[in-house]
């Protein structure tokens, strides 16, 4: 059974997995040659048949997204989202640094399939090393004829521009990213129209994550059906998880989904540091509601099960917290992140994130008021009415509702702990 698609090369050849020579010696760019001999529609059909879902956070089926492009408008653009900024996430960084040709090949195959001549990779500004590795791979691929004018003698022109962001998490949101790439402030756009209809320069545009496109060479080489045979329904293929926090062996792990959280955290991750007990974990990046051992440890790690249980796999970032964790301080760290990264366009997010930050700061500082317990939820409810999952939106993009996740998490699982930090607040008597 295949359990390593994306990391296989770098694990077998740690010294030079990022070079063109090693990539070609291990079968690299054979999928591109195969794809170029197929009609583009057949390449798209393979990706559809793989049932791969986007690895950036939303989990939308990639082949379906590709199918939204209107047939008769050119140029079309392909934009790769490498603005990896969700706290806890560092998987795309490893793909960019250690196997950039895998991504470049995925981009060229996808560009061929989608009739795109110009692709962009938007790399976060804090990733100069990954960007340098990627640029070198692009240059190598161009010199070898895999990219540029007349790709491998097919008459097709495909160019890749590596673009550096400048420190704005919001640009990971696809429409904010497109505005940023157009040379504007990175503020999200109201959808519809979706980027597939009117994206970069108002032209049809596909935005895909680094990990998603890095799977494309394997899918083309082995067929969509082979990919669809890996993992449980709705969570096909392998998937990268970034383990961090109080775990014995932090790192990126490529797994077949369907294993339990226990297997992921205690098996692969080696359990909790220093023999401590597990208190809770964030299952899919800072935007995701937290899980606790009593309710979730033996649940399967799949996109749909995690959604059913009121959270999300998101970007695959698993942040583990042990029994010594002050959950108010941890929640404040997450809330402060969103307050800092709110672009300020929508009032509930701009105001609500910083109100929540101030309330948590005063609780942590010993100056909390008993009414703050309800106030935390009331402010949250103004950002995301009903506090349900998936969250209701009062804002253009999901950043606003994301700040609610740590609040509802500590209030539903650790309310007494929060109350105990507030002078005069009543706990449930535990």
């Amino acid at each position: 059974m295949t359990d390593s698609i994306l990391f296989a090369r770098m694990e077998a050849h740690p010294a030079d997995s990022h070079t063109l020579a090693r990539y070609e010696a291990t079968g690299g760019y054979a999928a591109l040659r195969k794809a170029l001999a197929m009609p583009p529609e057949e390449v798209i059909a393979e990706v559809k048949a793989s049932n791969i879902r986007g690895r950036g956070g939303a989990g939308f089926p990639t082949g379906v997204k590709w199918g939204f492009l209107p047939p008769d408008i050119r140029p079309r653009y392909l934009v790769v989202n490498a603005d990896e900024s969700e706290p806890g996430t560092f998987k795309d960084r490893q793909l960019l640094e250690r196997d950039p040709h895998q991504l470049v090949e995925g981009i060229v195959i996808s560009a061929y399939a989608l009739d795109v001549e110009h692709a962009f990779v938007y790399v976060r500004g804090e990733y100069p090393r990954p960007a340098r590795r990627l640029q070198r791979a692009v240059d190598e691929a161009r010199a070898a004829g895999y990219l540029g004018r007349d790709v491998l003698g097919t008459g097709r022109n495909i160019e890749i521009t590596v673009h550096l962001g400048a420190g704005a998490y919001i640009c990971g949101e696809e429409t904010a990213l497109l505005n940023s790439l157009e040379g504007k402030r990175g503020e999200p756009r109201i959808k519809p129209p979706f980027p597939a209809i009117a994206g970069l320069y108002a032209k049809p545009t596909i935005v895909n994550n680094v990990e998603t496109l890095s799977n494309v060479p394997w899918i083309v080489a082995n067929g969509g059906a082979a990919y669809d045979a890996i993992g449980p329904e709705g969570s096909r293929g392998t998937r990268l998880f970034s383990l961090s926090g109080h775990v014995e062996r932090p790192g990126n792990y490529e797994i077949v989904m369907g294993m339990s959280w226990r297997d992921l955290i205690f098996g692969l991750g080696g359990g909790i540091r220093s023999g401590k007990q597990l208190k809770c974990w964030i299952p899919g990046g800072a935007s995701a509601p937290w899980f606790v051992p009593a309710l979730h440890l033996d649940e399967p790690v799949t996109i749909d099960d995690t959604g059913r249980l009121g959270s999300m796999l998101g970007s695959g970032a698993v942040v583990v917290m042990d029994e010594t964790t002050n959950v108010v301080a941890a929640a404040l760290s997450v809330v402060r992140f969103f307050a800092h990264e709110s672009c300020g366009e929508c009032t509930p997010c701009r105001e609500g994130t910083s109100w929540l930050q101030r309330i948590l700061e005063r609780i942590l500082g010993g100056a909390g008021r008993p009414a703050d317990l309800d106030l935390l939820l009331d402010v949250s409810d103004n950002i995301s009415p009903g506090l349900r999952w998936p969250p209701a939106m009062t804002t253009i993009c999901p950043l606003g509702p994301s700040v609610v996740s740590p609040i509802t998490s500590i209030m539903s699982h650790f309310r007494d702990e929060v109350a105990a930090m507030i002078p005069g607040a009543v706990t449930a008597g535990v």
Binding site: P14, A15, D16, S17, P75, E84, S85, E86, P87, G88, T89, F90, Q94, E97, R98, H118, R124, G125, E126, Y127, P128, R129, A131, R132, T161, H163, L164, G165, A166, G167, A168, Y169, S180, E182, G183, K184, R185, G186, E187, Y201, S242, L243, S244, G245, H246, P250, G251, N252, I282, A286, V319, M321, A330, S333, V334, R336, F337, H340, E341, C343
Partner: protein, 200 residues
């Protein structure tokens, strides 16, 4: 001051990578910072001229992003405070940096110190960046030593692999072979933005 011929050539090299000139505003803002050591009004006017934007439009873009800075020292030390680093002592690392340098977050002395949100090094928390070159698994004592080195030695450029070897610990993953290039100052070291230094 206005750009010299080398900077202008780099600007044109960047602009041709995009279908529309305006899309080059972000890399050109980095180029302007590399030329002047920080973002200046003159730099933004040059960017406006090259992109066909007004200076006000350029400023509107520049002020949106945290990495375009009007005030910078010789080097930029960024300490991550997001959740994974928070859990593993990032606050103590920041306190050590502030204590050792006497520079508060967001302020500039000989160097600039800042507290930043997630830098994507969560498996190697707590993390620090120097001129956006990453150091993972940094203890408070190592952070102090790093700052002393920057202040005492005043290195002309910093190389990530060297920083990691001297001042780092646990990494998010195996970085693979070392790279002999690094940053000449507080701008991401990515050609042709003009900041890559070092060499074999």
């Amino acid at each position: 001051m206005s750009w010299d011929s080398d900077t202008r050539a780099r600007a044109e090299e960047i602009i041709v990578r995009y279908p529309q000139r305006r899309s080059a505003v972000m890399p050109l803002l980095y180029l302007a910072m590399a030329a002047d050591g920080k973002l200046t009004d003159e730099g933004m006017r040059e960017v406006a001229e090259h992109t066909g934007m007004t200076p006000a439009q350029v400023y509107s873009v520049a002020s949106f992003y945290s990495m375009y800075k009007r005030e910078l020292g010789e080097h930029l030390v960024s300490v991550c405070r997001s959740v994974s680093c928070h859990l593993l002592g990032g606050d103590d690392v920041l306190a050590a940096v502030v204590d050792e340098t006497g520079i508060r977050p967001g302020q500039t002395g000989a160097i600039t110190v800042e507290a930043v949100e997630c830098v994507g090094a969560c498996g190697g928390a707590p993390a620090v960046q120097v001129d956006y070159e990453l150091v993972e698994g940094v203890s408070p004592a190592q952070a102090r030593a790093l700052c002393r080195w920057l202040l005492d030695e005043r290195p002309g450029f910093v190389i990530g692999d060297d920083l990691q070897a001297r001042f780092g610990g646990q990494r998010s993953f195996d970085w693979g072979p070392a790279e002999p290039v690094g940053a000449l100052g507080p701008v991401p070291a990515f050609e042709p933005y003009g900041t890559t230094g070092g060499g074999a």
